[in-house]
């Protein structure tokens, strides 16, 4: 519905809520006697994306591809090495202290493991009141009232406020995590694997809740996950990440109906389907994801791809291009079949 954008940074139509421009996050790898930086770990390497108001962008990739680091750069839990994070058009990459505070309110996060992201020594009421207190809701009565309303919104009983996180099951704890994230009426919520630690029957409850909240409050989600079926269900657009780079980006249906990048195809074909005896072609990738420390030169995926190319081509980088309106893909001899047709 909103996926009409003709550039990865969304220059047409409604102004994007979030925009990433050539974002890079490198971590120094220290070693030796004096712990000098001896190499760079390129966790996020030149990523440009945008998210529209009310939109869900799914970010998919395997462990170590940099998707969580990207999410943390958006929340300003990490400082980007290079590039820009723009929120409602304003550059927030280097903001500090007071000038950052309103953005802390508007951008919230939901974590994978609610058991670890909730303070076990505080009651649920305290956990939910804290953000309100920090952001200037002075009256205790009003805070309590808002906590009660929040608990109701996420489907927990009012008396939950007096209990402690360990008294709840995993699914209920994730509801508390969601309540905390929405307590200040944010516009963007970065969700880092919000359902992957939950049981199947609870996972669908949480996904439904997240979709309801999105409708009610017109939230935007950056939904980071490795489960493609879940991501497809909840996302408007999907970005596929491999070794710090976005390799394919497009509307959710388009990515599944017409995947172009070899890695996307392999990911889709690798999902175990809950239907016995379905015959389908499965692409089994060779080897593992290479290390993001000093990654191979040129196209990062070429050495794992089943599409062959020459050694010389391997060392050439791919080119991120729009092949259909809103559908972007890394074009390289080893990543897209019949790649020449897209280079016109």
């Amino acid at each position: 519905m909103i996926a009409k954008n003709d550039s990865p940074t969304g220059s047409n139509g409604e102004k994007p809520l979030l925009e990433l421009r050539n974002l890079r996050k490198y971590f120094p790898v220290k070693g030796g006697v004096f712990l000098r930086a001896k190499a760079q770990l390129k966790a996020v390497d030149d990523v440009s994306l945008h998210i529209q108001p009310g939109e869900t962008l799914g970010l998919v990739g395997e462990s170590g591809c940099g998707k969580s680091t990207l999410g943390k750069c958006v929340c300003r839990l990490h400082d980007a090495t290079e590039g820009q994070v723009l929120f409602r058009g304003q550059d927030i990459t280097r903001l500090r202290g007071k000038s950052l505070k309103p953005f802390r309110r508007d951008i919230q996060m939901i974590f994978q493991d609610p058991a670890e992201s909730l303070n076990s020594r505080h009651s649920v009421g305290n956990i939910l009141e804290e953000p309100l207190l920090i952001h200037g809701v002075k009256s205790p009565a009003e805070r309590r009232q808002r906590v009660a309303k929040l608990l109701d919104t996420v489907g927990l009983s009012k008396d939950s406020a007096d209990r402690f996180p360990f008294e709840f099951s995993g699914g209920q704890r994730q509801r508390i995590g969601i309540a905390r994230a929405i307590s200040l009426n944010p516009e963007l919520v970065v969700c880092d694997e919000p359902v992957s630690a939950l049981d199947v029957s609870v996972q669908s409850q949480i996904l439904n809740l997240m979709m309801d909240l999105q409708k009610e409050f017109r939230l935007s989600y950056l939904f980071i996950a490795h489960d493609l079926a879940v991501v497809k269900h909840i996302s408007d657009r999907i970005a596929i990440m491999y070794l710090g780079k976005i390799v394919e980006l497009g509307p959710a249906e388009e990515i599944f109906r017409n995947p172009l990048h070899a890695y996307t195809k392999a990911l889709i074909s690798a999902i175990p389907l809950p239907e016995p005896h379905t015959k389908r072609e499965r692409i089994i990738l060779k080897g593992d994801v290479p290390s993001p420390i000093d990654p191979p030169p040129g196209c990062a995926f070429a050495r794992r791809s089943w599409i062959h190319c020459s050694e010389e081509e391997m060392n050439q980088p791919g080119e991120f291009r729009e092949v259909q309106p809103g559908h972007w893909v890394e074009i390289h001899p080893a990543t897209v079949e019949n790649y020449q047709q897209y280079l016109a």
């Binding site: 199947v200 439904n208 809950p274």
Partner: protein, 351 residues
């Protein structure tokens, strides 16, 4: 070992490889005795894969640990039932005999390969140990065999890798080493507890493929324990669905996925997001949460979450507190917990 000519018909099969009969396993905790596995029965046929599926706390891992007698001591104990490996009851044999069974007749693959491997020993040495323990061979021979088996599980430059330590390998490679270890003595049964849960989806595909190939080649049976219904559908011949320590339903993979008979199984299948679903449509859910092990009733344990209109009445009844429903065979080989409020075929048709 005699090969079974037909893999299709269960009725024609002779003695199963493994039979678990009325297994009861309990843990002593500060809060009292907790029955984690409560009267579970199933059989594993030769050369076939049986899936144990259920949510966290349903007792699937404890069932596996009971089979190989690796329950945490002294809290975990088998209180009743039999575990028959080709007719021999593993719950009755001595610890020494059991030692030979583990790693010999039964191999094990655990979820997290890093914790299953010893970080301070070279991979080749850890593998050699399995051979030295179960076979009467020299260290040199054991090392050579280790390299052979590493090659078999698809580890490139096996000679080099054998001399390395676990931390030097990637997650997928480590799981291959664990598989190599489980298969070293050509076991007749491999128990795989969430073997791919910690792995990425492309690596998961590699590992599942490898296990299928090795099974076709070596003919072992597998017990596949997972919460992932996709993995079950792709790898298993037979499936046991567990809920709160009991078997809710069991049958062939076709029975379970095409004609689920327990409302819990149906609820699970309905709640997974499918590729063909309409985007952003509401997902079906199972109401409520998995019950805690300290508050389990005697009656049908899924009843409090059941969508059946009479479930509420049943929970209030005396029967819920005191009468345990058995299993009923609704078609050949397809068993389901026998209580109307949890059976799919006893749900009233909605008008």
């Amino acid at each position: 070992m005699p090969r079974i000519p037909s893999k299709r018909r269960r009725t024609a099969l002779p003695q199963p490889l493994l039979e678990v009969r009325d297994l009861v396993t309990a843990f002593d905790t500060d809060a009292g005795q907790v029955t984690a596995v409560d009267g579970v029965s199933f059989t594993v046929e030769k050369g076939k894969t049986l899936g144990l599926v259920g949510e966290s706390g349903c007792g699937k891992s404890v069932t596996a640990l009971s089979i190989i007698r690796l329950l945490p001591q002294p809290m975990g104990n088998i209180l009743g039932g039999k575990v028959l490996l080709e007719g021999k009851d593993l719950t009755q044999i001595s610890e020494e005999e059991m030692h030979k069974v583990r790693g010999g007749r039964i191999g094990m693959i655990f979820q997290e390969p890093l914790t299953a491997l010893n970080p301070v020993h070279r991979i080749g040495k850890q593998l050699s140990e399995v051979f030295l323990l179960h076979k009467d061979i020299s260290r040199k021979e054991a090392w050579d065999r280790s390299i052979d088996i590493l090659r078999k599980v698809g580890i490139p430059s096996a000679e080099v890798r054998a001399a390395e330590y676990p931390h030097q390998l990637s997650g997928g490679m480590r799981q291959r080493v664990v598989i190599a270890m489980a298969l070293a003595c050509k076991p007749s049964l491999v128990i795989a507890d969430e073997p791919t849960t910690a792995l990425d989806v492309t690596i998961q595909a590699q590992i599942l493929e490898l296990m299928k190939e090795l099974q076709a080649e070596m003919g072992m049976s597998i017990i596949m324990i997972t919460h992932d219904l996709g993995v079950i559908a792709e790898t298993c011949d037979d499936v046991v669905v567990m809920y709160a320590g009991r078997v809710a339903e069991k049958g062939t993979v076709e029975d379970i996925f095409k004609r689920p008979a327990h409302l819990y199984t149906k609820g699970l299948l309905d709640s997974i997001p499918r590729m063909e679903n309409e985007r952003k449509s509401r997902l079906k859910t199972i109401e409520g949460y998995v019950p805690g092990l300290l508050e389990l009733p005697v009656g049908a344990r899924f009843a409090p979450r059941s969508p059946h209109p009479e479930a509420g009445e049943y929970i209030q009844s005396e029967a819920f507190k005191s009468e345990r429903p058995g299993l009923v065979e609704i078609e050949p080989g397809h068993w389901v917990e026998d209580h109307p409020v949890v059976r799919v075929d006893k749900m009233p048709v909605q008008s």
